[in-house]
Amino acid sequence: MSDMQIPSEDYKYGFHDEDISLYKTKQGLTEETIREISRIKQEPEWMLNYRLQAFAKFMEMPIQDWGPELSRLNFDEYTYYIKPSDKTEQRWEDVPETIKETFDKLGIPEAEKEFLAGVTTQYDSEAVYHNMLEEVERKGVIFLDTDTALKKHPDLFKKYFGKLVPYTDNKFAALNSCVWSGGSFIYVPKGVHLEKPLQSYFRINTERMGQFERTLIIVDEGADVHYVEGCTAPIYSKDSLHAAVVEIFVHKNARCRYSTVQNWSDNIINLVTKRAKVFANGSMEWIDGNIGSGVNMKYPACILAEPYAKGICVSIAVAGKKQIQDAGAKMIHLAEDTYSNIISKSVSRNGGEVNYRGLVFHGPKAQRAKSKVECDTLILDKQSRSDTIPTNVSKNKTSQIEHEATVSNISEEQLFYLMSRGLSRGQATEMIVMGFLEPFTRELPMEYAVELNQLLKLDMSDSIG
């Protein structure tokens, strides 16, 4: 994270005269709410219809019967849309002390702290990142928030939106489809390579931290992009349900890397559907970190639709007190000579629960497909638990699936070795855990890796004392 000063403006007074009721829907989800969202956003007819169809589906679909218990969700309790400029209802005094302390320890600048804590939602990054955005635009890359993209690029939008994660996919995808707001829209034209990662930071302005974000990324033939979503610092939100959808299209010979570390506060239930479709010789890489939220369900998927398509998912899940991390990856091989690799690192401690849940599917046409799955789990104490639930299916005779899994705790020998050189028990434990997660952290951009390490260290020092 940068330590530059962000000019903060007092937006909340700017909207003083507005009729607030116009910009905030009533609690609960009804057809009226959805029409209202669409009307406030001044959306085209087809999007309203799409939302309404999704709503119908949402009402009839059951919650999935696997994974962490979610029956306590009461969909009538939530407010589904608040216009961002009015979201500033949270007061700094109300932000939990633990979150404030973490901000301080990480050295996050004031303006950013308030933004991350949901105290301000206006954070004009456009000014700061102007040059960066200019370069991106010069190359013909479209990088907008999803709402704006719908207005500015309606044809491109309509061609791809909802094509990979239809609202029929699961109840939370249906929910997202009817009330979505915010998220990122990226289009990288044919052959364009972006040297530096695109960060959602660059265009933080209004609706980034939505509860129901919708992200759509299209990487055209031969193009190459690395997108970094969010940041590793803890994000506090009073909204307790988050259901996002991410759709990514990786065309022929293209490459996309999507890096994210979710660190929601532990009152959040985070349910995200992430899916990429990869065409001939394309490559999709999910770098997916899960250290926050109370209940997290996230299984980034790659559909390897054409020959030589490649899918990679490197992920970590760290579950502490009162946390359930149910994470993994899905690799669906539909064409010959496709390749996938899953590396999953899980850590549970202080009574946390961390599960790996994954699917590798080799279809009848996926001749000579190869998959490699590596799941390693570290359980730090007796109160914590972990399960590994892999599903590997091959429908042809020439493909190969390799699966390797380990579960361990920290060995006394290792601790003794490190301590015999002067490290305290806490430092030694921390070092072993960081080393365990290294295959993930090395994939992150430098500043994120540094911050993640810092953050996990803070966490460890809390638990070890």
Partner: protein, 272 residues
């Protein structure tokens, strides 16, 4: 003047008594060779001094310059000036040698060592130990050959500068040239900072190089005879049999674990 004093030390491992009253005093500049057949408590003594949690001290005391070592955590013992070069150093994946060593050095300093000072010192030491310069960036002992691990122990010792170092079969896995190098490093440290040394080794050549000032023979959990270099020479020529006779002790024979081969298992059940 550093002084490590071990008095009437009794140690259990998994409920079995291994050390039965060891007395030993090591001063700075001294080099003590700890000898004796395998399985008679040499490694146990060193591990117990360092505080390996597998070893339980049931009686006796250990002090370093008058401070109670047994009351200290393992890391405190290290910071107090003790060092154990291990027979089987652990591997830690994902942690680079340099990150580890820097943390270890910082643990004993009030202010962290400046990064460039550290890098210079590490590069110099790695070069002196004739190791490849990429050592700093490799993960701690991971994928190291036996010899590399042992050299890495010496790199750590050199950088942490203990007042009393204990080396447990540091010679295994090292060739003659490497042994000479290790001996040279030890001499330098003894001259420069007066490091005291306890060394367990079966290799006469290594002891020749180290020129111990003291030698002790550990049999069945106690030191039965101490002396100087003449004792090392005698053992090198005659083995330990004479000690059993002369001192009326019984050498503990190492239990050889029976190796079950798959074939034998099958033979047992199927009568092939």
């Amino acid at each position: 003047m550093s002084c490590l004093k071990i008095d009437d030390l009794h140690v259990d491992v998994d409920g079995k008594q291994i050390l039965k009253g060891v007395n030993l005093e090591i001063h700075e500049h001294e080099t003590h060779a700890l000898m004796g057949p395998n399985g008679n408590g040499k490694s146990t003594l060193l591990a117990a001094i360092m505080g390996n949690p597998k070893y339980h001290v049931t009686r006796g005391s250990i002090t370093l310059d008058g401070q109670d070592v047994l009351a200290m955590e393992v890391d405190e013992r290290s910071k107090a000036g003790l060092f154990l070069g291990m027979q089987y150093p652990s591997e830690v994946s994902g942690v680079t040698n340099s990150d580890f060593l820097r943390a270890a050095m910082n643990a004993r300093r009030e202010r962290p060592i400046p990064l460039f000072t550290f890098i210079r010192e590490m590069e110099k030491t790695v070069k002196e130990m004739e190791m490849k310069p990429d050592l700093a960036h490799r993960f701690l002992n991971e994928g190291f050959s036996g010899g590399e691990k042992k050299r890495n122990e010496i790199v750590q010792m050199k950088m942490l500068k203990p007042s009393i170092a204990m080396l447990d079969e540091i010679d295994s896995g090292l060739d003659v040239d490497a042994l000479k190098l290790v001996a040279k490093m030890i001499h330098e440290m003894q001259i420069e900072q007066g490091m005291g040394l306890v060394v367990v080794s079966h290799y006469a050549r290594f002891l020749d190089l180290l020129k111990p000032t003291h030698a002790h023979v550990l049999v069945d959990g106690a030191i039965v005879v101490s002396g100087g270099s003449e004792l090392i020479e005698k053992i090198d020529q005659e083995g330990y049999d004479w000690i059993e006779k002369e001192y009326h002790v019984q050498v503990v024979k190492e239990e050889k674990k029976k190796v079950a081969l798959l074939q034998q298992c099958a033979a047992g059940t199927k009568g092939v």
